[in-house]
């Protein structure tokens, strides 16, 4: 997976970068599925590997062919110093995170047990993810839909040249 990711950054040809990015999304969805987050894996596979790849390719076909080769300046000295430091700092902080599936972690103590126990009686929906997303957190999802709607309108206004 990191091979595909590094390849997508390193490769000079934009077409192969797009395809490598799609395969990276696919591997990432396999990772989500193996962690038990099937809904997230589904979205990652459909949107990341499918739709985003198609949109990138259409953008590539829309631009001039001479733009498909990348000119990249070498990274500056500050970048080379700051980013490894940031990585070390993040790894140091990740040591204090609770373990995967830890029943005593704050995330699984606060309100998750209520959702897991009550959601079927409340909503007659076996999939807890759906009931949390569409019922308990419905206002969130509505505003997310507004965001997608706005993105579509903005794309249509910016990209469509004909009156």
């Amino acid at each position: 997976m990191s091979l595909a990711r590094a390849g997508a950054i390193m490769v000079k040809d934009l077409m192969s970068a797009v395809l490598l990015l799609g395969s990276y999304s696919f591997f990432l969805s396999l990772v989500w599925a193996s962690q038990g987050a099937v809904d997230v894996a589904f979205v990652e596979a459909v949107v990341g590997a499918g739709l985003a790849t198609v949109l990138f390719l259409l953008t590539l076909f829309g631009t001039a062919p001479k733009d498909t080769r990348l000119q990249r300046p070498p990274p500056s000295l500050i970048t080379l110093i700051i980013f490894p430091l940031l990585g070390v700092l993040l790894l140091y902080a990740a040591k204090d995170l609770p373990g995967f599936g830890d029943p005593n972690s704050p995330a699984s103590l606060h309100i998750s047990p209520t959702y897991l126990e009550q959601s079927y009686q409340d909503t007659l929906t076996p999939n807890v993810v759906t009931s949390v997303l569409m019922d308990y957190r419905s206002l969130d999802t509505m505003i997310e839909t507004v965001v997608i709607f706005t993105a579509g309108i903005a794309c249509a206004l910016l990209l469509r040249r004909q009156a």
Binding site: V38, D39, A41, F42, V43, V46, V47, G50, L51, V54, L55, L58, T59, F61, G62, Q121, D122, T123, L124, T125, P126, N127, V129, T130, S131, L133, M134, D135, S138, L139, T141, M142, T145, V146, I148, F149, A151, G152, I153, C155, A156, L158, L159, R160, R161, Q162
Partner: protein, 150 residues
Amino acid sequence: MIRPHDSIIVQTLGRFLVPVVQIFGLYVLFFGQYGPGGGFVGGVILGTGMILSVLIFGHSGSRGQIAKKVLHADGVGMLIYAGVGGLCMIGGGEFLNYANLEIPGLETASRRSLGIVLTQIGVAIDVAVTAVSIVFSLSAEEVIEDSINV
């Protein structure tokens, strides 16, 4: 402007695949309550099916015309979602509290289940139309070049 693809293999496979993709999208949309899936993924799959038909049969094909007509539905998904919320308020509860949907002969739990289905349909329509509209706006630029060249 996307023209129809020349290859007969692509045409035949597309004619077979597009309905399968659409039906799978509907399945994902309505079985989001029982398995993985839901409004967002279902909408993306529905939109991808339409994008596939546009890519294979071109803008001017009959399926491309259907996809172009679908663009007029922009905002209907939002309207359904917010409308369900408004119906809940009319029923005397909070915004988007599906237990207040005024449908006779239903338990509170099945009302909430119905509310989830309705809002998921709203999300799916919105996402599908947005995906198709982005593809149309990305590929519309070449129309002008063609018209200039002609």
